[in-house]
Symmetry: C2
Subunit: 243 residues, 2 copies
C-alpha cells in the first residue's frame, strides 16, 4: 500500500501498475528498469511537454499523415502505459499497430495484442518472420507491417533497432525521454516527451493540422535542433537548482 | 539472452541480475524502477566517481568512524547490488548492518539477511518494532539498532524516512544518485555516486584516514556545496552534449 501522502505518489502508483503488469507478463522485469530511466529524464524535463517537444509532436503527425504505410511499433511498456493513447492515435492517423518485443515469446505477443484490442486498437497481427538484421528478438516482424513501412513510430526503442530501421531507408519517429540516447540521435525525428503526454498531442495534430501547416513542419524538420532544445531545457532546469 | 555486442551490455546484465532477484523475492518490482532512475542519473554523472563525490565519501567515513552506534540500513536493491561491498564496509568500520524495507514481509527480511550473511556481513537481526513515525513499513526497526543509532548510512532511501531520521537528531548519510531528491537535500551528508563505486571508497577511507584528516573533513562538511557540485557536474556534461 502506497500512502497517498507520499510526495511521489503518482510515480509510485505507475510503478505499482507496471509491477502488476510484470506479474501478468505484459511488462518484462527489464522494462521496469527502463521505465525508471525514463522517469529520471522526465524529472529533468519538469514532467511537462516542452515547446520543442510540442513542435516535434506536430512534425510527427505531419510525417504520419504523409505516409503510405505508417506503422506504430508497440512493446510491453508502451502497451502497459498507453494502450488507449495508441488506439486513439491509430484512429486519427490510420496507422497500423504492430507488436515488437525485445523479450519475445508468443504468449507475451498475444497478451499485449489482447490488451491493445481491449483498449480499442486494431492490431496488425499474424505470423511474424525474422526480417530485421538484429541479433535479438526485435528482429521479428511482419512483411506487410513494419518491414514494408515507410514511416514507423517507435516509442521506447532500442538504439540498435532504430539504427537498422533508418538504414533500411525508413522514416523513424522515436519517442524517447533521453535526448542523448542512440535512439534519439539515430531517428529521423525524436519526440523527447513522456508517452501519455506525447501520444495525445500527436493525435490532436493528426486531427487538426492543415495541409499548409504539414508542408511547413516537414520543410523545417531539424532533429539536431529538437534534441539541442531538449538538452537545453534539462540543463536550464538543473542549473536553476543551483540558485 | 543479451547480445554481448549491445552498447549498453553492462547495464543490461545488471538489469537482468535484478530481474532474477525479483523472481527470488530479494528485489521488489518497484525496486527495478528505482534502479532505472539511478541509472539515468549516473549516466549524467558520466558513470564515474566525481571529485566532490570522493570528498563526500571520505567525509562519510569520518562520520562513521566517529560514531558511537553507526548503522548501515540495507534494502533489497542495496543487498542485490552490493552485499559484498556492505560486508566490506562493516569490517572496516564496525557498523551494524540492519535490514529495512519499504515493501516489507518477514520472508523478504529473512532472504535479504541470508544474502548479506552469505556475502560475509554480520546482520543485526531479531524482532523489529514499529518505532519510526512513518505510515509505511520502513517504520519497522530494532530498538538497539537504527532506533538508537547516532549515525546512519542510508543507501537508496525514501525522502520521508530520511526526514524522520534527521528529525530524530541522527546524522544521516545518504547514498543517492539524484542530487535534487528530497533524500539528498534532507540528509546531513549526501554521496552522489553509484553504490558499488561509493561503498568501496568509504571503506578505503575508513581504513586510511588519519585522525587529523578526519577532524578536517568534519569541520568542512557542507552538504549544499556537495550537492551543488554534483548538479554542476551533470549540468556541464549535458551542456557539453550541445557542442
Amino acid at each position: 500500500m502506497i500512502p497517498p501522502d507520499h510526495p511521489r505518489y503518482r510515480s509510485l502508483v505507475t510503478r505499482e501498475h507496471l509491477a502488476v503488469c510484470v506479474k501478468t507478463g505484459i511488462v518484462s522485469p527489464e522494462g521496469l528498469t527502463a521505465h525508471g530511466r525514463g522517469e529520471a529524464f522526465d524529472y529533468f524535463l519538469g514532467e511537462r511537454t516542452t515547446e520543442s517537444a510540442l513542435l516535434a509532436e506536430r512534425t510527427a503527425a505531419a510525417l504520419i499523415l504523409g505516409a503510405r504505410n505508417p506503422v506504430i511499433s508497440v512493446n510491453g511498456n508502451t502497451a502497459a502505459l498507453a494502450a488507449r493513447e495508441i488506439a486513439g492515435l491509430q484512429k486519427a492517423s490510420g496507422a497500423k499497430v504492430e507488436v515488437n518485443l525485445f523479450h519475445r515469446t508468443e504468449e507475451r505477443v498475444n497478451q499485449i495484442e489482447d490488451l491493445l484490442r481491449s483498449a480499442g486498437a486494431e492490431v496488425f497481427s499474424g505470423p511474424a518472420e525474422r526480417l530485421l538484421p538484429l541479433s535479438h528478438d526485435r528482429a521479428w516482424c511482419r512483411r506487410e507491417g513494419m518491414f514494408s513501412a515507410d514511416v514507423i513510430l517507435v516509442p521506447l526503442e532500442d538504439g540498435d533497432r532504430c539504427e537498422v530501421l533508418v538504414n533500411m531507408g525508413k522514416t523513424v519517429i522515436a519517442l524517447d525521454l533521453n535526448p542523448l540516447s542512440r535512439t534519439a540521435r539515430m531517428a529521423t525525428l525524436t519526440v523527447v516527451d513522456e508517452l501519455t503526454r506525447a501520444l495525445p498531442n500527436i493525435t490532436d495534430a493528426c486531427r487538426n493540422l492543415t495541409g499548409a501547416e504539414r508542408m511547413q513542419l516537414l520543410a523545417c524538420l531539424d532533429n539536431n535542433y529538437l534534441l539541442s532544445e531538449a538538452i537545453r531545457e534539462m540543463t536550464m532546469r538543473l542549473a536553476h537548482a543551483l540558485d
